[in-house]
Symmetry: C2
Subunit: 234 residues, 2 copies
DNA sequence: CGACGAACGTCAACCGCGTTGGCATAAGGG
DNA sequence: CCCTTATGCCAACGCGGTTGACGTTCGTCG
């Protein structure tokens, strides 16, 4: 049955669920995103998604060949939200910085979805549009193709990787994060300077930094390194 | 029963399994690592681990409160392996590059552990040792404390984030990865130059790159950006 | 040297997961 | 108004983590 799922053609017949709602690709994806935001990734299952839709879990298989395909659709919806409203200025560093922060933020808004989706190739329209835009900015700035592709690869994977990492922290159960903070206070903040001089000397700076995402700093370093390769600034 | 698992005190009673082996924390962790390396993460389950040990899966719960705790122990062993044998050369770029690749490789060798461990502060001996080493390399190279801490933060999170991302790809079931490849071939490789000129122009380069990890390139870009801030090379 | 009690492996069972095949039913065209 | 077909529902399968009860084994103490 898995292979019989309708891909994306128009649907004709509509039959309401027992609770009156009518299923759609979009409705399923939106509900999935809401579930992920509210209850976390570990609480996201096909059965619960069906329940939230007022439908049986097996009804999902009329729309997606499996959870795999549904995950791809979720990833693409995230990318759609990241890209809407973006307009290039023509200055490549500004444009890339904007795009990176947008993608990071879109995934962070749905932490659990990010963890699920970051490692998948969705191959859908919005992901492709983002890829084309990033490559376009780089090639438009005059980077030769090998350099453009290399920087593009790092840029995309870095955005997704940091988003997934930060999202995973956000998605932790409360007691886990409290435990992590307690571990920090009990170890890093009290390391003697004799055995761990570098941590001890910078513990104040460390404490300020480690609670925030490293992505903005990482993005700036990436752009700086790219700029030193750029043809316009040799 | 989960909370009754013995943490790390000495054990006194020993009782052989039906096939003669005697269970230990270390034996369980080593067997788990071997299973992960040989059969991949998708085949790693508590039941199969029990089978590989010649024991019932439920016997594991005498040693670990659950799969989470077992995974954390695996992660600790991973960091241990990443750091053993590392000796600083005194040249900070070489040292940081070596450390980054070591951590990334150690986590990649055991994908499931990477995904679970990357977002947690373990606060255990080996993690602290790694942090002290990285900070030491940066401060030893003459970076001022704020810059050292900033680069340290990006370096650590970048290594973990890419490791987790790459690990998540590796941990996917085989069908999922085949599906991703099929999606790639069906879309990116066939985009017309009229609508997607940049992807079409670089599709050959893209196909070569996207199957590999972006981490080595990302690491090199980070080191290049840091070098341009370094006091010795102003 | 014998018995006791704790340590610990085993068994059977529970519940939830993704997924599937068969069936029931509603929608919409003729 | 009926008939086809899309589509939701149900029951079931195999597999996952986890648990409680049970019985065996071993170190220890008298």
């Amino acid at each position: 049955m898995a292979k019989n799922a309708v891909p994306e053609e128009q649907r004709r017949r509509r039959r309401p669920t027992k609770q009156g709602t009518v299923l759609t690709h979009d409705l399923i994806v939106d509900t999935a995103l809401r579930m992920l935001r509210e209850h976390g990734a570990q609480g996201f299952t096909a059965r619960r998604l069906g329940l939230a839709l007022g439908a049986d879990a097996s009804a999902l298989y009329r729309y997606f060949a499996g959870l795999d395909e549904l995950t791809r659709a979720i990833a693409d919806a995230l990318m759609h939200r990241a890209m809407t409203g973006w307009v290039p200025t023509g200055e490549w560093r500004t444009d890339l910085r904007d795009l990176g922060l947008r993608i990071h933020a879109a995934y962070l808004a749905h932490p659990q979805a990010a963890v699920l989706a970051a490692s998948r190739v969705s191959g859908r329209a919005h992901e492709i549009a983002a890829d084309e835009a990033i490559l376009g900015v780089l090639r438009g700035a005059g980077f030769a193709d090998p350099a453009a592709v290399r920087i593009y690869h790092v840029f995309v994977d870095q955005a997704l990787a940091f988003a997934a990492l930060d999202a995973a922290s956000l998605a932790l159960p409360v007691e886990a994060r409290e435990a992590d903070e307690a571990v920090w206070d009990a170890t890093y903040a009290r390391l003697p300077a004799e055995t761990h001089p570098h941590i001890a000397a910078t513990s104040q700076l460390l404490a300020e930094r480690m609670n925030a995402s490293a992505y903005p700093a990482a993005l700036d370093l990436l752009l700086a390194a790219a700029a030193s390769e750029a043809p316009s600034h040799p």
